[in-house]
Amino acid sequence: MSSLKAVWETVWGLLVDDGSLAIGIVVALGMTWLAAIALGDAGRDQVGWLLVAMLVVLVVVNLRAAGGSVRRRIS
């Protein structure tokens, strides 16, 4: 039972090590999905690049927040 629990915790940690990053990814995916529906056939091919842009911003913002948090802790 403890092995199963450890496996579950590993899988969970594998995906959501940082909660805010995981939530940001899910939100970006949801917005991409909505954009694909809203844009229809004409604009659907652009949603991939929209997702790339959102994730690039997400990574930089998330790491900036992590850096800020560490700076506050050590100062």
């Binding site: 092995s3 450890a6 496996v7 590993t10 899988v11 594998l14 995906l15 959501v16 090590d17 940082d18 990053l21 995981a22 990814i25 899910v26 995916l29 991409t32 999905w33 694909a36 659907r44 091919d45 652009q46 949603v47 991939g48 997702l51 790339v52 994730l55 690039v56 997400l58 990574v59 930089v60 998330n62 790491l63 900036r64 992590a66 850096g67 800020g68 948090s69 560490v70 700076r71 802790r73 050590i74």
Partner: protein, 255 residues
């Protein structure tokens, strides 16, 4: 499925699995050196069989039952969650905020703990077998996940991803057995960084394809997506180094 697509499943699977096998091998070596090799061997075999069952049931079920577009979206989302997590951690390590993974330190800590538990001279060493089983099962769960994610393109891709992971396992375990010491020479953070970026690029590619989008140049677009993640990583490392003084290192769980 062409050779390029199979390589796209096998190579990242090989590199990502190698990182996980290095971590498992460190623990198995610690058990073997302190308590003998029979128990960790049995523990490793038992964990490998458990993982084979997980991959066979989950992997084959997912690949054969879920419709293709839904599968691409599901796997794309999982690859992004997994890949960006690795990328983030690797960037924090490159920026000097989180310590690099130190196999030598982990090995010495494990050896000290195992010695402290003592060794029964008679009978089967249950502690040694359990420690090895747990290490291989936990690291192997990540390998199983990697194999299923990269094998989601179909039966051929799943086979290629399995072959990549098995090849990594054989290579890393053979190296560990030959050297009888932790594989500290493996550039683990570079590998995690590279695999994190590749997983993320494939995650975007598949998720958008699942939504019905067509990429210019098809799979070649992955290179452009990869370049975007690499650029974001470079900016992030520079930004973090500018924000924080040298030696501003914290525990990995704290960021």
């Amino acid at each position: 499925m062409d050779a390029g697509a199979l390589a796209a499943a096998a190579l990242p699977s090989f590199i990502a699995s190698a990182v996980e096998f290095v971590e498992a091998t460190t623990i198995i070596l610690a058990v073997g050196v302190t308590r003998g090799w029979r128990a960790p061997l049995y523990g490793t075999i038992a964990a490998a069989l458990t993982l084979a069952v997980i991959i066979a049931t989950l992997g084959v079920t997912i690949v054969s039952v879920v419709p293709e577009h839904a599968l691409k979206m599901f796997v794309g989302a999982l690859l992004l969650l997994f890949g960006l997590r690795w990328l983030r951690k690797a960037i924090l390590r490159f920026a000097g905020i989180v310590a690099l993974h130190d196999e030598e330190r982990i090995y010495l800590k494990e050896v000290a703990e195992l010695r402290a538990q003592g060794l029964e001279r008679t009978g089967f060493d249950r502690i040694g077998a359990l420690v090895a089983y747990k290490a291989v099962l936990l690291e192997g769960t990540e390998v199983a996940f990697i194999v299923i994610a990269f094998g989601a393109g179909g039966a051929s891709a799943l086979n290629a991803a399995v072959v990549g992971a098995i090849a990594a396992g054989i290579l890393v375990i053979a190296l560990g057995a030959a050297l009888r010491k932790p594989l500290t020479m493996v550039p683990e953070n570079w590998m995690k960084f590279g695999v994190g970026a590749i997983l993320s690029a494939f995650g975007v590619f598949w998720f958008a394809e699942g939504l019905g989008a067509e990429w210019p140049g098809d799979a070649l677009s992955v290179l452009a997506i990869l370049a975007a993640f690499l650029a974001a990583s470079w900016i992030s490392v520079r930004m973090l180094r500018a924000m924080l003084p040298d030696g501003a290192e914290v525990a990995a769980r704290s960021v």
